[in-house]
Symmetry: C2
Subunit: 559 residues, 2 copies
């Protein structure tokens, strides 16, 4: 009966509409291509031929590499022909990404990161120019590519292609395999922009049978050197917080597997390992295995033998030759160059790291933190994924068990889970003298203004385990009430209004219980925090430390 009904239905239902639609797109695109090779002169016509109004489109681009030529092509389309696209993309980074919404070519947006466009994207959201799906963390957006946000068309970027459409993505492999897998096996169309067409690829990152069209852009895709921090700009306060983190967190927990955020505070930690860390006898005991982009500031620690292995989300401009010369440390291909992979590195950051430490813009009294202000929506990137407790984790490690025991001393050990160390580090007053600690997050004001279901919180209070400022380390794991938590936060908030609002007696009690630790409690003299402690004090030092293998982008060169 049920069976008979369904047999009858099957006669009328077609089950390959997606593949058929792809075939139609391919046929339409062929008018502007020779084989898979799109004629660059007709790029816009080609895109108008293969796209349909309302398509779900992924344009590749994250905080590093960008399919910039394809983005420009998209933005040049005629909105009368192609409109109302649903863009799903890691990064909203190029002006063209937002031009699409201004012109009406695109309508709806699901994304992760929007650093350089954070002010404009906020304005367009307020103005109703963009219909917001959601702001995701990278791995979460990738997950949805396989469930309810599978792209119908993906526009990706590679270094080179051969005549079969096999792609070489080189060191900046990043999101490409994930985007291609979801789109191509999901019966969608994959279009790649490449820097050149070659006879033989240095290695095959994407098999050609997953790629439908290739555009020879005649030049490399755009890459942003987002992870380069010039040691020249490091302040003594940042060096002090770095010393406190090493002695107050890395050492007592014995953190070996970790991820660092993008800021100067954590770059300072990297530069202190071969100096201050060495003095503390921590070599081999901390910071051996990383999920991390190839930060130039990690070079001195690598050269001094601190680092055993690094898996990278992406690459970093100028680090290519250095990475190729250090295959014992980095994942490299048969061509010798780095193979990065954002999906796997995020997975590593989620499940195989014991610590995430990063800077933020605002922290509230509960310990929620955010990089979003009421007028800037920078997105999340990878931080929420790495800066959250991985509750599916089932393997123990010492730092993880120790953090778990601090949070929950009463549960019997075998039923007590560990905790990932999630640390926020920063100065009490940040850029432009803005206080790090606030009564109400800008993210919350934004949620009210845009009537969002969720405020865009970067790291939630219940995932945050420690806050480090120049005034001290607050260990939130040891707090036993919301009150204690608030005072622990106020107690490291310095001369900000939040800091001045502390209950002094309670803060002293928290200090006695080591919930707050001052520099002097850690045996650190703030006067010792000076730039001489940095293993490299300039980009040139980093270049020299690499034996000339690191080639800094020109904007970082002053010699």
């Amino acid at each position: 009966m049920a069976t008979r009904t369904t047999v009858r239905r099957r006669c009328v239902r077609q089950w390959n509409t997606r593949k058929q639609m792809r075939e139609e797109r391919i046929a339409a695109g062929r008018g502007f291509a020779t084989g898979k090779l799109v004629d660059p002169e007709t790029l816009v016509d080609f895109l108008e031929a293969v796209l349909r109004p309302g398509d779900r489109v992924c344009i590749e681009g994250d905080n590093q590499k960008q399919a910039d030529v394809l983005a420009r092509g998209l933005a040049a389309m005629d909105p009368a022909r192609i409109h109302d696209l649903h863009m799903v993309q890691s990064g909203v980074v190029l002006p063209e990404h937002l031009d699409l919404f201004d012109s009406g070519i695109a309508k709806r947006l699901d994304f992760s990161y929007s650093g350089p466009q954070s002010a404009r994207i906020a304005k367009m959201l307020f103005g109703g120019k963009i219909e917001l799906g959601a702001i995701h963390t990278y791995l979460e957006l990738f997950a949805r590519y396989f469930v309810d946000l599978t792209p119908q068309v993906a526009l990706i970027a590679a270094v080179s292609a051969d005549r079969h459409g096999n792609l070489y993505t080189g060191p900046n492999t990043e999101d490409t395999p994930t985007v291609v897998e979801a789109t191509s096996f999901g019966s969608g169309l994959v279009i790649a922009q490449v820097g050149e067409i070659v006879d033989t690829l240095p290695r095959v990152d994407i098999p050609g049978d997953q790629v439908h069209f290739v555009l020879d852009a005649g030049r490399p895709f755009y890459v942003e050197p987002l992870f380069t921090r010039d040691p020249v700009a490091m302040t003594e306060t940042q060096i002090l917080t770095a010393m406190m983190a090493i002695k107050g967190l890395y050492q007592p927990y014995g953190v070996r597997r970790l991820n660092h955020g993008i800021g100067f505070n954590t770059a300072a930690i990297e530069l202190l390992l071969p100096t201050y860390g060495e003095k503390l006898g921590l070599k081999g005991k901390i910071c051996t295995h990383w999920a991390l982009n190839p930060h130039p500031t990690l070079i001195p620690a690598i050269e001094a033998g601190w680092v055993e292995q690094v898996h990278c989300f992406g690459s970093e401009v100028g680090m290519e030759d250095y990475l190729a010369a250090r295959p014992d440390i980095f994942f490299t291909g048969p061509d010798g160059s780095l193979r990065s992979n954002r999906a796997f590195s995020q997975t590593a950051g989620l499940y195989a790291c014991d610590m995430f430490i990063g800077s933020t813009l605002q922290i509230d009294l509960a310990g929620h933190s955010s990089t979003i202000t009421a007028n800037r929506i920078a997105g999340f990137g990878g931080a929420p994924n790495m800066g959250s407790d991985a509750r599916g984790r089932r393997h123990p490690s010492e730092p993880w068990l120790q953090a778990g025991a601090e949070a929950d001393p009463d549960t019997a050990a075998p039923l007590r889970r560990g905790r990932k160390l999630v640390v926020q580090i920063g100065e009490t007053f940040g850029e432009g003298n803005a206080p790090l600690f606030v009564e109400k997050l800008g993210a919350l004001e934004l949620a009210e203004k845009l009537d969002l279901d969720l405020a865009p919180i970067m790291v939630y209070a219940d995932d945050t385990t420690h806050i480090v400022t120049e005034e001290g380390i607050a260990n939130l794991l040891l707090c036993r009430s919301a009150d204690e938590r608030e005072q622990a936060i106020r107690g490291v908030a310095g001369f900000t209004e939040i800091g001045r609002g502390r209950d002094r007696a309670m803060v002293e009690r928290l200090r006695a219980r080591k919930i707050i630790q001052r520099p002097e409690d850690l045996g650190i003299d703030p006067l010792d925090a000076n730039r001489n402690m940095l293993a490299a004090r300039s980009i040139k030092d980093l270049m020299l430390a690499s034996g000339g293998l690191y080639r800094p982008p020109s904007r970082f060169r002053n010699w």
Copy 2:
């Protein structure tokens, strides 16, 4: 100074020892191979030539596909030559996987799943024959492949290879891309067993430059049809719990994106969608997007138009032609056949699903559950990953927000996170009349016996949101104390000792608050739960529903 020191050091330190070691292994293996093609007659000699004592080795195999010929080859090695291997692998499934430890070829083990070997592995752990690293959930183990458990040698399985070593993994792609990426780019050696060598592959799943040796096994790799549930064996109690789940959970939360466990209870839900679900008017409102293996019991729902998309961890024996004929629903390649991918499907289950529902063996009074008894260590597989709240998630959905609001009605909405629905479903007395509810989990006894840091809990109490038995649904989200939680659990535990130990008055109060819902509270008459409601009542029905495309393995055929 720091710079000068490191320059000096760099002169003595070699940075390509791993690649050099791989070159040595390749050179040694070439004596038993023509190009990349290993002579099958000399497999054991070949393995002894490329392996080294103490190597970290990944043998591919999960709950489905197995690199069985390579496993047999490994087990036949001379332990005097190759010993003390550290095995890292998704599944300990074949006898040979454990023979390695009996003979001393292997010493240490990190794994995820050990279904069919659960009794023997327990014995060997008690006997000290295996040094246990940890038991992981799949995605967590994959994460460690990129951080601190990168394999030096991977032994994988594919359908076919061409003469360049390009691999076709077909519908059972599963773990292969992940294992190969970690090993090959991590400077390790990749050896593939294939069913045949062909001139042209149907599609390229793994580029040949990532594969170092290929063994023509002359026959397909072994696959276990683990996800086939014969409707003949479904009980009326299972049908009742399935009805309760649909009406009491799927409908009120509006669950569209989900994962089902492996048992009969959830298979019954799949078979009730086109009948009971249709009657409730739920088509298009629930169960549209899945992270799921291709369960044969999902065929009637797919044929009736319930399902929009399914992403698969692996394939299922006999489902190949059906999957190839339904590309609108399943992810398929240019060859037309399924492309599964365990890493991405687990990521989808973690971050893009609103519900995980599965069966378990034991639930305790707090709500912890486990499939491990004191004498059987079945491992975890994927359940802890999918059955845990994804705290890095930042996109809202209605089911997720509703569950979050139930758990925490007091926090202001924009700062309140949602919750993943994590549901345990089962009969109060399970197989062999063993009670589902226990005072103390076998997993806890095991942890004490083996002195483990962590009891192997499948799903922790604080991640579990609902428990469904034939007596009722307990909504743990609405419980406001540990006491209420315990009584909610006792209140659906039927005539088990735990159930009989309930506080009757409190249970009635919980029922009044809808924390416990009985079948009659849901408007379900247990007498309606009969086998006529199943959209298919036998494997033959499933085959017929598929229009003959599903070809059940012979062990499931009785016609």
